[in-house]
C-alpha cells in the first residue's frame, strides 16, 4: 500500500494489489512467494463468496434480467433471506423494492445501450442484499453480489434510495470481469470512476436526461437534511458535493495538479476518481445529447479493450479512450476531439 512502512513487523496484511505487483515485477523468489499467497487468497475468497451451487439461477435468455433480493435482517450474514425474486410483486419493503427496481433499470441500460447481458454478459443472476448490518453507512460489491446498508438515519438515508448507487455497485462487477482493475492508486481510482461514470449514465438513461439536464451527482438523496451537502460526489465539479461540520469537506480533485497522495483508502481511490470523473463529464457535455450515445460507448470500448492492463494509470486509459473514439467515430471526428480535449483539461494528457 502506498506509504505503508516497510518494517517486517508491518507486513502481515499484504493487500492483493501489492502481491500482484510483486508477482509480476519482483525477483524469482519473491514472485513465487507472491503467487503462493495470491493462490491462498483466491481460495479464501472462494470460501467466503457464494458457492456456485448455492447461487440462484441465471437469466434464461438474453434481454431478460434475473433478480434476487435478500434481507440480512440487520445482521452481517450474506446473502441472507430471499424476499423477492424475478417476476414477484412488490414486497412492501421499500429497500427491497428499490433494489429490485434499480437493478432492473441497470440491467436494462446495459442491455438496451450495449446489448450486454448482465454483469458477465452471460446472464449472471443479479443478487442484492438489503438491511445489511445495523445503521450501516455503506454499499459494496463483494465479488459475487451487491450489498446495501440502511444508513444511520442521522447522516445517511438507506443506500438503495439512489439509482446510481445501485448501478455503481453492479458496475464494479462488470469492471471486475472485464478489466480487473487493481483496486489501489490510479487503477483503483479509475475503477471507482468507471463505476461512477456508468452509474450516472444509468440514472440519466432511466430518467431520459440529456447531458445538460442531468445533475451529474453521485449519491443524491443519500444525505439527510442534517447534512450540508447535495450528494457524495459531483462529477461536474469534484470537491463541491458537501461541506459539513461532521462529514468534512468533499476532498475530490478535478485536475491532476491537485492529485492527492495518500495511503488511506487504497491510495485515495474514492478521492482521485474525481479527475477521470470530470474528464467524462467534459467529454459528454461537449458532445451534447445523451451521454450514452457517444461518450458512453467510447468509455465502454476502452473498459473492455484487451489492452487495458490491470494496473493501468489515468494516462493509459485516456489514450485508450482516444484510440477507441477514433476507431468508433473516425480520426478528426467531433468525438475524438472532445475526448482528447477532456483529458487535456483535467491535466491527464498534455
Amino acid at each position: 500500500m502506498t506509504g505503508m512502512p516497510t518494517s517486517s513487523r508491518l507486513t502481515a496484511f499484504m493487500p492483493p494489489h501489492v502481491l500482484e505487483r510483486v508477482a509480476s515485477h519482483g525477483n524469482a523468489r519473491l514472485k513465487q512467494c507472491a503467487r503462493n499467497t495470491l493462490q491462498a487468497d483466491a481460495q479464501f475468497r472462494l470460501r467466503n463468496a457464494s458457492r456456485p451451487s448455492a447461487r440462484p439461477a441465471d437469466s434464461p435468455r438474453p434481454g431478460q434480467v434475473a433478480r434476487y433480493i435478500y434481507t440480512a435482517n440487520r445482521q452481517q450474514t450474506l446473502p441472507g433471506s430471499l424476499v423477492r425474486e424475478e417476476g414477484a410483486p412488490d414486497s412492501g419493503d421499500v429497500a427491497v423494492d428499490e433494489a429490485y427496481q434499480w437493478l432492473g433499470a441497470t440491467y436494462r441500460f446495459y442491455w438496451e445501450v450495449f446489448e450486454r447481458h448482465s454483469i458477465d454478459d452471460e446472464g449472471m443472476a443479479l443478487i442484492g442484499t438489503v438491511h445489511y448490518g445495523e445503521d450501516y453507512d455503506n454499499a459494496f460489491w463483494n465479488g459475487a453480489q451487491m450489498v446495501f446498508g440502511d444508513g444511520d438515519g442521522e447522516l445517511f438515508n438507506r443506500f438503495t434510495a439512489a439509482l446510481e448507487v445501485v448501478a455503481h455497485e453492479l458496475t464494479h462487477g462488470v469492471i471486475e470481469r472485464e478489466a480487473g482493475l487493481i483496486y489501489a492508486d490510479q487503477s483503483g481510482a479509475l475503477n471507482e470512476s468507471l463505476a461512477d461514470v456508468f452509474g450516472v449514465m444509468v440514472k440519466q438513461h432511466h430518467f431520459e436526461q440529456t447531458v445538460d439536464e442531468a445533475d451529474w451527482l453521485i449519491g443524491e438523496g443519500l444525505l439527510t437534511e442534517r447534512v450540508n451537502g447535495r450528494a457524495l460526489r459531483s462529477m461536474a465539479h469534484p470537491g463541491t458535493a458537501y461541506d459539513d461540520p461532521v462529514l468534512g469537506k468533499d476532498p475530490q480533485p478535478g485536475h491532476m495538479d491537485d492529485f492527492v497522495q495518500t495511503a488511506s483508502d487504497n491510495g485515495g481511490v474514492h478521492i482521485n476518481s474525481g479527475i477521470p470523473n470530470r474528464a467524462f463529464y467534459l467529454a459528454a457535455t461537449r458532445l451534447g445529447g445523451f451521454a450514452w450515445e457517444a461518450a458512453g460507448p467510447v468509455w465502454l470500448d476502452a473498459l473492455i479493450d484487451a489492452r487495458l492492463a490491470r494496473d493501468a494509470d489515468f494516462a493509459t486509459f485516456a489514450r485508450l479512450t482516444i484510440d477507441r473514439a477514433t476507431a468508433r467515430f473516425g480520426g478528426g471526428s467531433e468525438a475524438e476531439r472532445a475526448v482528447t480535449q477532456a483529458w487535456a483539461d483535467v491535466g491527464v494528457l498534455p
Binding site: 508491518l10 499467497t37 463483494n142 471486475e176 471507482e192 461532521v246 481511490v269 474514492h270
Partner: protein, 111 residues
C-alpha cells in the same frame, strides 16, 4: 506468529484506530482515535493489549475481495509518531471489541 512476537504495550505506547474506504468514503467518517497508554488505567491497558493480541492472531487472512469495502487501520506508535506495528483489518473480519473502541473511545475499555 507466536504470542512472544506480538507487540507489547508500554506506558509510552500510542494506539491509533481509523476507518477507511467505503462507497461513502468521506473525511468525517474516518473518526480517527488515539489512545495514549499513559492516560489509561492498568485494566484498560490490559484490555487494549488483548485487542492487539486478537488482531495479531487474525494473521494474514487476505482480503475478502470486492469493492467499496471498509477497512480499519490500527497503528502502534512506541516512540515518536513512527508506526512500529500496523494492521489493516477488513470490516467483515473486525473483532467487535475493535468496532466498539472505534465508536465509543476509552469508555469501551471499561474502568
Amino acid at each position: 506468529m507466536s504470542r512472544a512476537d506480538c507487540p507489547r504495550l508500554t506506558l509510552g505506547s500510542v494506539v491509533a484506530i481509523a476507518r477507511e474506504g467505503g462507497f461513502a468514503a468521506m473525511p468525517g467518517l474516518s473518526r480517527p482515535r488515539r489512545f495514549a497508554c499513559r492516560d489509561l488505567t492498568e485494566g484498560q491497558r490490559a484490555r487494549l493489549q488483548a485487542l492487539i493480541d486478537e488482531i495479531e492472531s487474525l494473521g494474514s487472512p487476505g482480503s475478502p475481495g470486492g469493492n467499496d469495502r471498509m477497512v480499519f487501520r490500527i497503528t502502534l506508535e512506541d516512540t515518536g509518531e513512527t508506526p512500529s506495528w500496523e494492521r489493516l483489518v477488513d470490516e467483515s473480519l473486525t473483532p467487535k471489541s475493535l468496532n466498539r473502541l472505534w465508536k465509543s473511545g476509552p469508555a469501551a475499555l471499561g474502568d
